[in-house]
Structures are given as structure tokens and as C-alpha cells.
Symmetry: C2
Amino acid sequence: MPHIAVDAMSGDSGPSTVIPAIKDLVAHHPEVTFHLVGDSSTLQAELQRLHLQDHERIQLHHASQVVGMDEAPSQALRGKRDSSMHVAIALLRDGHADAVVSAGNTGALMAMGKVFLRTIPGIDRPAIAAFLPTTTGRFLALDLGANVDCHPEHLLQFAVMGSILAERVMGVPKPRVGLLNIGSEEIKGNEQVKEASLLLRAARLNFIGNVEGSDIYRGVADVVVCDGFVGNVALKTSEGLATMISHEMRASYTQGLYGKLAYLVNRPILQRLRKRLDSRQYNGATLLGLNGIVIKSHGNADRYAFARAVEVAIAEAKHRLTLHIAEVIQDNLDPVVRNSA
Amino acid sequence: MPHIAVDAMSGDSGPSTVIPAIKDLVAHHPEVTFHLVGDSSTLQAELQRLHLQDHERIQLHHASQVVGMDEAPSQALRGKRDSSMHVAIALLRDGHADAVVSAGNTGALMAMGKVFLRTIPGIDRPAIAAFLPTTTGRFLALDLGANVDCHPEHLLQFAVMGSILAERVMGVPKPRVGLLNIGSEEIKGNEQVKEASLLLRAARLNFIGNVEGSDIYRGVADVVVCDGFVGNVALKTSEGLATMISHEMRASYTQGLYGKLAYLVNRPILQRLRKRLDSRQYNGATLLGLNGIVIKSHGNADRYAFARAVEVAIAEAKHRLTLHIAEVIQDNLDPVVRNSA
């Protein structure tokens, strides 16, 4: 029976997005208890508005502070002990919850996670891992920005954790793990990637070698591993191009009467396309490697998107992801590697 | 009067693409002489087919070999002294041409450029620089894959060269130079980028600071600088996503009668969009930093795209790009930086 702690003050709209999302989920997940953390009166009011005030599987935990979106992580650690984010993490740390979901400040969430939960034994640096769409389904990408200047051993750890997540939680048998590189040939790449390639090849993984950025959306790999700097830049650049394409399309459609007519005819198709590629579907990145399940939602997530993030938490909690990683990690990581990390 | 050496055997189709492209250009550029390099009889036959055999501004230079698309650069250097690629570069080296255009093996082209042309004094590593579209125009991105594991000083050199290209050749006054990073804050980024930021800030550039991948297509900068590994991955990933979006759109359109009807209505708009974002428009990357103008076309470029690459060469030759870079480089690069490069 998973207990999910929710940072209900987080995100652009806080409770007015979070609580409707929980309402959408509570009936579909009869085995889950939701622990909403934040200002009690605000949360109570929102629950009442949605007729959820006495729900037996929704519990409130008061927190008097909120971590600011631009607050420096170190500052949040020091000065926001009674923030909804910290109280939620404390619930997880103390065993009252199996997972935390927050749409708040990523840096602060990761910092609190590292300090109060620590990392799974054998993991040096937790990574931000998220699912992205492919033409046939989805793949897991990590690290998407938590760590810059990764060592090859960190990439190995990302690969092992990502593979476990894909296998246990997404049900992918023997997930294909690829290393994001500038070419498929072994000799290509920077020093970090070339060394990481050797480590991945030696590990107990279904390692398919290097994958290029142009191939990942075709579904060539189930897990794509990269340095946090590279991953973040690649992700942001792709999003930027998608936005530009979208912008150009809209511009084309508003030109003249034909454009407007064509838009009307085209609208259901565009809607289907948007739905297919909807980033809201994929909302919910895992801070993978913390000794507890912590899920980060986009700050601007709407009710639908936030619910998807909570579902990631539910799935990982049900499959006891952290426990599995801890068990498997010791086997997978070569003693030579662990000592040099 | 620019002289442009063209590797006429290069690319997927060689002369049957190259020579039609030259035909499209020769009338529009009455001041340019084209030096086509390759197998004389093949070239002669193609010229005759297009009624260009006696054109006063098209000269032939025989070369008996061709560099293979998958040939190792070191092998091409050793064994292909009479390749169309090498002969073209020799024309530039010996002052018979002002620029070289090739659609051949990038690694071999760069290797030959480095060995036979060397780099502009003050430049350690030439970068691959190309224009990419924005919602309002275009921007120059470099390095797109020539160099992995760049030092901060290399990024400074890329910035200076890119700025000169944008200013002199594209006519952009005080080009805004941005450093591709994972966030706009100064503290963000890996060691390389953080140190490069200091160097760029101290140089005589219109440095606007960090730019995120999601912003570059909005035209926030005229020149975007990055490590070759990062640049190549970001570019390939963006292209992969664009391909996927395109694929999903096509799939949406073929579904059912409505889909097909909508496609017909939508076609002119899609065509306009494709034209706007057409990568063929932007074909022609500069191997920026070699002591001579060398332009690389995509191997699969068609006649239109190859002509665009040749026009890049013409523009850079007219504006004496290499000379300008050499002049400006000494002023811009701090003696401290140069000695530690």
C-alpha cells in the first residue's frame, strides 16, 4: 500500500493544481494514500472545494514555509526546514511515505534529497532521469542536468540505475542501453565517453554501444546515458527547435483566408499530434540514485501533467525501485570501479 | 575576382549534382571563376551535357583519385595525393583559388586542411561552423563536431572567429555572441564553460553571456559557441526530434479519409514550412580557422543545396574572411591566453 508524499505548495499554482490532480488519481488508485504537505488551511480549503475533505486516503501535513523557485539550494537547506518540500522529504526519510513528488525548485529538491536521504550505497551522484517519446513508444534519458563533468564511473552508475528502472518499473525485458555519442564508431567521442564505453561493455547490461542524437527518438535504445551537461543542452535544444517548428506552423496558418481555412481543417490532426508528443504525458522526472523515490514535476505542470508525475511515483513505489537498485548495484558495479569512484 | 575550387567528385552523386549546381550559379556570379577538380573526361562529359564545355569561367583540373566516404583521414592523407579533394586544396594552398568546396569525407577534408593549409596564426583548432535557422533569421553555431574536449581558450577562439564571420560576411553589426550552457546564471555550467565565460567576457566581443539550447532558435544570439561534442550531440538530437515530429505528422495525415483530405488542404502550408526550415538552405559549413576558406557541403546535398554551399564560399572569399580573421585574431587574443593555449 504505497504512501505518496506530495509537496502541495509546489509549482506555479500550488494547491490549485496539485489537489485537482490528486482528485483525478485517488479513485483510480484505491491502494494509495496521499500525504499532502503545505499550509493546512489553504489545503483544507481546496480539499473542501473539491469535496475531498474527509477522504480516508488523503492526509494533511502542515508546513509553514515554501521554497522559492529561484532560491539557492544552500539557502533552502539552511532556512526552509519547515517548507512543504522539506517536510515531504522528511516523511520519506522517516518511513511514513514511500515516495515524494514536488514541482518545486529542482536544485533545492536534489540538495535536500542528498542531505536528508543520502544516496543509495554505491551511487555517487543521483541523476535526473525522464522519459521521452519515440516513434514507437518511449525511452529513458539520464542525466538530464543534475551533474556536469561526470566521470566515466558516474555514467556507468546512471546506466545501471536506468536499466533497472526500465526493466522493473516499465516492464522492458533486458533494456537496451545506449551511450549518447557523436558517432557510432568506437573511436569517436570525448575521453569521458570513450572510457565509459569500456565500463558499460564490461558491466552486466544489454549495452548496445554508442547512439547518436539523431537516432534516440527512433527508439534504438530503451535507456540513453549521457553527462548532465550534454543531456540538458541536448534536451533544451530539441525543445527549442520543436517550439520553433510549432511557431512557424502557426505563422503559416494565420496567413490569409486559405491559411485560416486550412487550420480549421487541420486542427483535429494537430491536436492528435500535440497529444502524441505532449510533454505533459511525460511529466515526472526521477532523481535517480537518492535513497528514496523522489519525483520532480515541471513547475508549470497543469493538473493532468502533475497527475502523471504522481503516477511515476506510484509505479516506482509499487515496484520498490530504490530497494531493487540497492540490491542490484552491488553486483553490477565492479569492485575496481567502486574503489576508484 | 574570386576563384572557387570545387571538389567535383565529392558527395553522393558527384559531378551529376555538382555541375548542375555550378550551372545554376555561373550566370548569377559574373565575377567568379569555378575550378572543377576531378576526372577530366567525366567532368567534360557532364559539362557538355549542360552546354558549359567552353565556358570561360569554368576550368577543369584533373584528379585521378577520390577520397572514400568512410576512408580514415590518415589513410586519405597518405594514399590519396591525387584525389579531387587534395588537388582542390592544393589549388587554394598555392594561391590559384580563394576557397574550396567539397561534399566529401569531413574528417579527411579537415585533416588535409590542417596539413596543407595549416591554421590561421593564433588558432589552435579549426571548428565546423554552420548557420541554423531562427524564427527571425539565422545564427552561426560552432563547433559542430570537429573538436571534442575543447579547452576554454578554444571556445574563445571559436567566439572570435564566429563573430568576425557574422560581422564581415553576414553583415551583422556587433554580432551577439552567446555561450551554450545549461542555464543563464553565471554559476551554472561545467568547468570548461565557466572558464570560457571569463575569457569571452574579457575579450573584445559583444558577449551576451550564457544561452540555453531552448533559446538559440529564437534568435537571442547571432553566434553560439560550444564544445564540438556538445554541439554535435545537440544538433543531431534536434534533427532527430524534428524528424520524429515530421514522421508523426505524416502518420496523422494518412489516417483515414479525413486525414487525406486534410493533407491536401494543408499541403501548401506544409510546403511553405518545409521551405522555411529547409536544411538545404543552410547547406555549407565552414571549417573555420584553417588558413584558407574551406566549405563542407552535406554528402547528400542536391543541386540546390550544393549551390548554397558554393555561395558560402563565394561570400567568404569576397569578404576575404581568412585575412580578416588573421588580422583581428592577434588583437583579440590576450597574450596570456595565447601562451597557455
